[in-house]
C-alpha cells in the first residue's frame, strides 16, 4: 500500500491563520448583540464586518446597490473607518466586552467538510481586506449578514443614480457620503417611507414617493408627516424611464398605471432628480449559509430563501447559527430593531452554551413573523412592479447590466449578443422548448443567456431574473430551485486572494491534471501499467 497520492489535496490545505471558537459575521444590531452575549458568557469571539468597503467594490454595487452615488470621501479609508465606528455605538460596547472586532474585512468564502470535501483540517472562513486574504477556523459560526437590495430595471437604470434602499441608507448614515441632492423613492411601504424620512433628515430632497399599488403600503401617519414636509406621493404610478445627457440620471419620467399595470396614455410626467431609490423590499443574505450547507427554504413573507432555524436560531448545520435580517426580512422589522438584537442575543447565548458556557436565563427567542397574509408577500408585490415596468418600458431593457442581457433575450433564452449567432435551429429554441425538457432552472438559463454572470455577482438582477422567468413560465419563484452561490462571494482581485500561507507541497506537487503517468502518453507509445511516474512521463505531467 502506498501513502496518499502526492498530487491529491491531502496535506495541501493551509491551516487557518487563526482559530477562534466563535465567529460572528455582520456587525449590524443582531451580529453585535450576538457577539456581546457570547463574549459575556466567556467565549472568545471574533466579529467580522465588511464595512467600510472600498470605493471599487461600491462601484460594482457590492454588497449593496450604491448606484455610483458615493462622494469622494469614500476613498479616504481612515475617515470611513472612523465614520463606521462612530455611527455604530454598539461596536464600542462589543470591544469593551472583549470581542475582537474586525472591520473592513470581507467574508468571501466558507469551507467545510462534506460529501465531496473531506480534507479540510477544520471548518474555515475565507477573509480578506484590500490587500490580502487569509483563513480563520471556527468551532461555531453565527451568520448575521443582513439583507440586500432588490432592483428592477427600467430604461436608463444603468445610469449613475439608481440605488437600493440598503445602499442609500448606508451612504446616508454609516458613510455620510451620499452624492445625491434630490431622490425619487420607488415603493411606499415601511422601507420606502423610512428611507425617505432618512433622506430628508440628511438634507436630501425627496422629489416623490412612487407606488405602483393604488394604496399606500406603509404607515399612514408617517406618510402624512412626509407629505406635510412637501413630499409628493404618486400612487398607481410607475417609472417609465430615467433620462440624462451623460451617464447620470437627471430626471425620471413617471406614468400613472391602470389596475392591470398598463400605463395611462398621456399621463407621463418628468421629474428632475439625480437619484432613484428602489425601496420595495430587501432579500436575506444567505450566501454563507448556502456555502456551509445549511438547509434553506423559500418563504415569500420573509423575503425569499431563508435558513431553517430552530427556536434557538440554530440552522440545520449544528455548528452554525443565524440571526437578524438574514433569517428573514419583513418590513415590520424596521420599526422594531430590538427584534434583531433579541435574536442576536439568543443566537449568541445558544452558540456559547453549545461551546460549554453555563446555561443562562431562557431568552425570548421566538421570531416574530408579522401577521401573514398574501398581501404581505413581497414577491407578488415585486411582480406587480415588474408588470408595470414591462408595460411602460418594454422588453428591450437590460435585466442584467453586467452582461447586457435584455428582458427579451432572457425570456427567449437567446445566446449572448457578442456571439452574433444565428441559425434556424437556434431561432426555434425558446424558454418554451426548454420547459418541455424539464422544470425551470435559473442557473441553467444563466449559462445560456449569461444573465447574472457578471462582476456584481447577480446582486442587481438575481430577483428580477427569477421573477421574469417565473412570469414567462407561468410559475412562481418558490418552485424554482435556489440559484447557487459560489465562492468568492465578494469579487476580489487575484492578487488579494493570492495565498501567502500556501504550503510548500502545494507548489512542489502541483500538476494541472491528476499526474497519472500514462494519461497523456501518445497512444502510439503508451504503456498501461499502474506504476510510479518514470522520468519521461514525469516530464509530460509535471511542470515543477
Amino acid at each position: 500500500m502506498r501513502g496518499p497520492d502526492p498530487r491529491s489535496i491531502v496535506g495541501k490545505v493551509p491551516p487557518p491563520e487563526r482559530h477562534v471558537p466563535l465567529i460572528v459575521v455582520g456587525a449590524g444590531p443582531a451580529g453585535v448583540a450576538a457577539a456581546i452575549e457570547a463574549a459575556r458568557a466567556g467565549v472568545e469571539v471574533m466579529l467580522v464586518d465588511e464595512h467600510p468597503v472600498d470605493n471599487d467594490m461600491m462601484a460594482m454595487d457590492v454588497p449593496l446597490c450604491f448606484g455610483q452615488r458615493m462622494d469622494g470621501s469614500v476613498r479616504n479609508r481612515a475617515l470611513m473607518l472612523e465614520r463606521v465606528v462612530e455611527t455604530n455605538p454598539d461596536l464600542a460596547a462589543a470591544h469593551d466586552a472583549g470581542v475582537d472586532v474586525q472591520l473592513g474585512t470581507y467574508v468571501w468564502g466558507a469551507f467545510v467538510n462534506g460529501p465531496a470535501v473531506q480534507e479540510l483540517p477544520v471548518s474555515m472562513l475565507g477573509l480578506a481586506d484590500d490587500r490580502r486574504s487569509w483563513l480563520v477556523g471556527y468551532d461555531r459560526l453565527i451568520v448575521a449578514a443582513g439583507a440586500r437590495d432588490v432592483l428592477l430595471g427600467f430604461p436608463g437604470w444603468e445610469r449613475a443614480g439608481t440605488l437600493g434602499a440598503g445602499g442609500a441608507t448606508a451612504l446616508l448614515t454609516r458613510y455620510r457620503a451620499l452624492a445625491a441632492r434630490r431622490v425619487v423613492v420607488l415603493g411606499s411601504g415601511a422601507l420606502a417611507l423610512h428611507t425617505a424620512e432618512l433622506a430628508l433628515e440628511h438634507g436630501v430632497e425627496v422629489a416623490g414617493i412612487v407606488e405602483v399599488d393604488g394604496r399606500l403600503r406603509g404607515d399612514a401617519a408617517l406618510a402624512k408627516t412626509l407629505a406635510d414636509r412637501g413630499v409628493p406621493f404618486l400612487l398607481s404610478h410607475t417609472i417609465q424611464s430615467a433620462r440624462g445627457r451623460t451617464g447620470e440620471i437627471e430626471s425620471v419620467v413617471l406614468v400613472s398605471v391602470n389596475r392591470d399595470g398598463s400605463p395611462v396614455a398621456g399621463s407621463e410626467r418628468e421629474i428632475a432628480c439625480d437619484a432613484v431609490c428602489w425601496a420595495v423590499g430587501l432579500v436575506p443574505n444567505v450566501e454563507l449559509l448556502h456555502l456551509v450547507g445549511a438547509r434553506l427554504r423559500f418563504v415569500s413573507q420573509l423575503g425569499g430563501w431563508v435558513p431553517e432555524v430552530d427556536a434557538r436560531l440554530r440552522t440545520s448545520v449544528a455548528t452554525v447559527f443565524a440571526a437578524g435580517d438574514c433569517v428573514g426580512f419583513h418590513e415590520s422589522r424596521l420599526a422594531a430593531p430590538d427584534i434583531a438584537r433579541a435574536e442576536g442575543r439568543a443566537a449568541g447565548r445558544a452558540a456559547a452554551e453549545s461551546l460549554g458556557a453555563a446555561r443562562g436565563p431562557e431568552a425570548e427567542t421566538r421570531r416574530r413573523v408579522a401577521a401573514a397574509s398574501a398581501a404581505d408577500e413581497p414577491h407578488g408585490y415585486w411582480r406587480s412592479w415588474l408588470d408595470s415596468l414591462i408595460a411602460a418600458g418594454g422588453w428591450e431593457v437590460n435585466v442584467c447590466q453586467c452582461e447586457e442581457v435584455t428582458r427579451r433575450e432572457l425570456v427567449e433564452t437567446k445566446p449572448p449578443r457578442y456571439l452574433a449567432w444565428r441559425s434556424s435551429q437556434m431561432s426555434a429554441r425558446s424558454l418554451e422548448t426548454l420547459l418541455r425538457d424539464g422544470p425551470l432552472n435559473q442557473d441553467q438559463i444563466k449559462r445560456l443567456t449569461r444573465a447574472g454572470m457578471g462582476p456584481c455577482q447577480s446582486r442587481r438582477c438575481r430577483e428580477q431574473v427569477g421573477l421574469l422567468l417565473a412570469r414567462a413560465a407561468d410559475t412562481s419563484l418558490d418552485r424554482i430551485p435556489l440559484p447557487t452561490f459560489r465562492p468568492p462571494i465578494r469579487p476580489l482581485p487575484l492578487n488579494v486572494l493570492w495565498p501567502a500561507d500556501e504550503p510548500a507541497a502545494m507548489r512542489e506537487e502541483w500538476v494541472s491534471w491528476f499526474g497519472i503517468p500514462t494519461q497523456f502518453s501518445p497512444h502510439w507509445t503508451a504503456g498501461m501499467a499502474i506504476d510510479e511516474p518514470t522520468a519521461h512521463t514525469r516530464l509530460i505531467m509535471s511542470d515543477e
Binding site: S8, V112, A116, Q118, G126, L494, E502, I530, L539
Partner: protein, 395 residues
C-alpha cells in the same frame, strides 16, 4: 438497427446525459437511429458542462478525429460551441518550457505545425504576460470551446434529429434476459432497448458491476475559477504554469488545475459541489501566469466530479457479454474528445466496431488483473471517515 420504436423505449437507450452520452446520441440520431438519453439531473450539468473546454488531445486514439471535427461542430450541430482554434503555452521556467515543447512535439508527430516563441513574441501575442515568462509555444492546432454551450448544443441537435432526452430520470437497474439487456429501469419506469450505452461518468463503474464487468473507477473532485471579463486577447487559448483553461469569448479568464480530491460517490446521487481554499492557489497561479491581470477580480469558482481509471485512459468498448452494451468513460478527459468519441460510440452501436480509430488499448480487459483494492494500493482512496469526524462535526 431494427428501429423498434416503442412508446416506452428506444432502439438505443443512453444512460447518462453528459457530454459523451449526448454526443453519442447526437451521432446516432443524425443517421436516423431512435435514441433516448436518460439523465438523472440536467444535461451536461456536471463536469461535462464545467471544465476547461480544451480541445487539444492529439495524443489520444481519438485525437486526429477531434482535430478534424471541432472546426465543423458549430455547423454540424446548428448551435454555437464558441470553438476557437490554436493554443499558446506560456512557460515560466525551463521545466515548463520543456513540458510545453513536449506537447507541441506530440502534435508535430501527428503532422501539426507549431512555433517556439521567445518572450518578446509571446508578449506581442499575449500582452498581459510578464517578465517572469521565459518563452512559450504557439500551436497551430488544437483549440477550445465553451462546455456549457456545447453540451446544450449536443442535446438540442439530438432532439432536432428526432432523439429524445429524459431529464431528472435516474437509472436504477438493467434488465437482462437471454444474455442481453432488454430494458433500463428508472425512477420513471422501465424503457426497453435494443442496445444500451452506459456513459454515466463516476457512476459508470456501478453499472458495469450490475453487468458483472469489472471497471475500476475512482471519482475525484476538481476545481476551477473564473474572473470578470477583460479585453479579448488575440488568442484566447492561453495556458501554462500548471493551469488549464482559456479566455472565453466574453473575456473571462477561466482556469483550473492543482490538486484533486479522491472521493466516494456511494450511490446514484451527486454530492453538492463544494470548493476549498484551493481557489486562492488558483488565483495565485493565474496571477503568476498573466501578471498584467493580477488586479482582475475573481467572481466565481466551481468544482466538478470526474472519474479516473487506474491508467487514466478511457474505456470505450462494446462488451462481449451482454453483447448489446457499450460502456464508455473518458477517464476525466471527455469534453474536447467528445465529438470523436461520440462518433466512435455510434459506430460501436451500429457496426460493432469503430471504423476510424483502433480502440484496442481502451478495452476493459486491461483491468482484469487489477485488484479490487487498487484505490488503496495506488493511494487514490477517499479520506477515511475518521478524518471526516475529526473535522468539526457539521451535520
Amino acid at each position: 438497427m431494427a428501429g423498434m420504436a416503442r412508446t416506452n423505449g428506444a432502439s438505443v437507450v443512453i444512460v447518462g446525459g453528459g457530454v459523451t452520452g449526448l454526443s453519442a446520441g447526437w451521432w446516432l440520431a443524425r443517421v436516423g437511429v431512435d435514441v433516448l438519453v436518460l439523465e438523472k439531473g440536467i444535461v451536461g450539468w456536471e463536469a461535462s458542462g464545467r471544465n476547461g473546454g480544451g480541445a487539444t488531445h492529439v495524443y489520444s486514439p481519438f485525437g486526429l478525429e477531434e482535430q478534424r471535427l471541432w472546426p465543423q461542430m458549430d455547423e454540424l450541430l446548428g448551435y454555437p460551441t464558441e470553438y476557437q482554434s490554436c493554443r499558446i503555452g506560456i512557460a515560466l521556467s525551463e521545466t515548463q518550457l520543456a513540458l510545453a515543447r513536449r506537447w507541441a512535439e506530440i502534435g508535430e508527430t501527428r503532422g501539426f505545425r507549431w512555433e517556439l516563441l521567445d518572450r518578446r513574441q509571446l508578449k506581442e501575442l499575449v500582452p498581459i504576460v510578464g517578465d517572469n515568462a521565459i518563452g512559450g509555444t504557439y500551436l497551430h492546432f488544437g483549440g477550445h470551446a465553451n462546455p456549457q454551450r456545447t453540451v446544450q448544443g449536443y442535446a438540442w441537435a439530438l432532439q432536432d434529429h428526432g432523439g429524445r432526452i429524459l431529464q431528472h430520470t435516474t437509472v436504477t437497474g438493467l434488465t437482462q434476459r437471454g444474455g442481453r439487456i432488454t430494458a433500463v429501469e428508472t425512477t420513471r419506469g422501465a424503457f426497453g432497448a435494443d442496445v444500451v450505452v452506459i456513459a454515466a461518468g463516476p457512476q459508470t463503474g456501478a453499472f458495469a458491476d450490475m453487468l458483472g464487468a469489472w471497471l475500476p473507477l475512482a471519482p475525484a473532485r476538481v476545481e476551477m475559477v473564473a474572473t470578470e471579463p477583460i479585453p479579448l486577447m488575440r488568442v484566447g487559448g492561453v495556458a501554462g504554469n500548471g493551469l488549464y483553461g482559456r479566455q472565453t469569448l466574453r473575456g473571462n479568464l477561466v482556469y483550473g488545475g492543482g490538486p484533486h480530491e479522491w472521493i466516494n460517490v456511494p450511490d446514484m446521487t451527486t454530492p453538492d459541489h463544494a470548493n476549498t481554499p484551493l481557489v486562492r492557489s488558483l488565483a495565485r497561479r493565474l496571477a503568476e501566469l498573466l501578471p498584467g491581470a493580477a488586479h482582475v477580480r475573481l467572481i466565481r469558482s466551481w468544482s466538478g466530479l470526474v472519474e479516473n481509471t487506474p491508467d487514466g485512459l478511457p474505456v470505450v468498448e462494446r462488451l462481449a457479454q451482454p453483447d448489446n452494451v457499450v460502456i464508455a468513460t473518458m477517464s476525466s478527459v471527455g469534453f474536447g474528445l467528445s465529438p470523436a468519441v461520440g462518433r466512435a460510440i455510434s459506430e460501436l452501436v451500429r457496426h460493432g466496431r469503430c471504423q476510424f480509430a483502433d480502440l484496442g488499448a481502451l478495452a476493459l480487459g486491461r483491468f482484469a488483473d487489477t485488484p479490487r483494492d487498487w484505490r488503496e494500493r495506488a493511494g487514490w482512496a477517499a479520506a477515511s471517515p475518521a478524518i471526516e469526524a475529526a473535522a468539526g462535526g457539521d451535520d
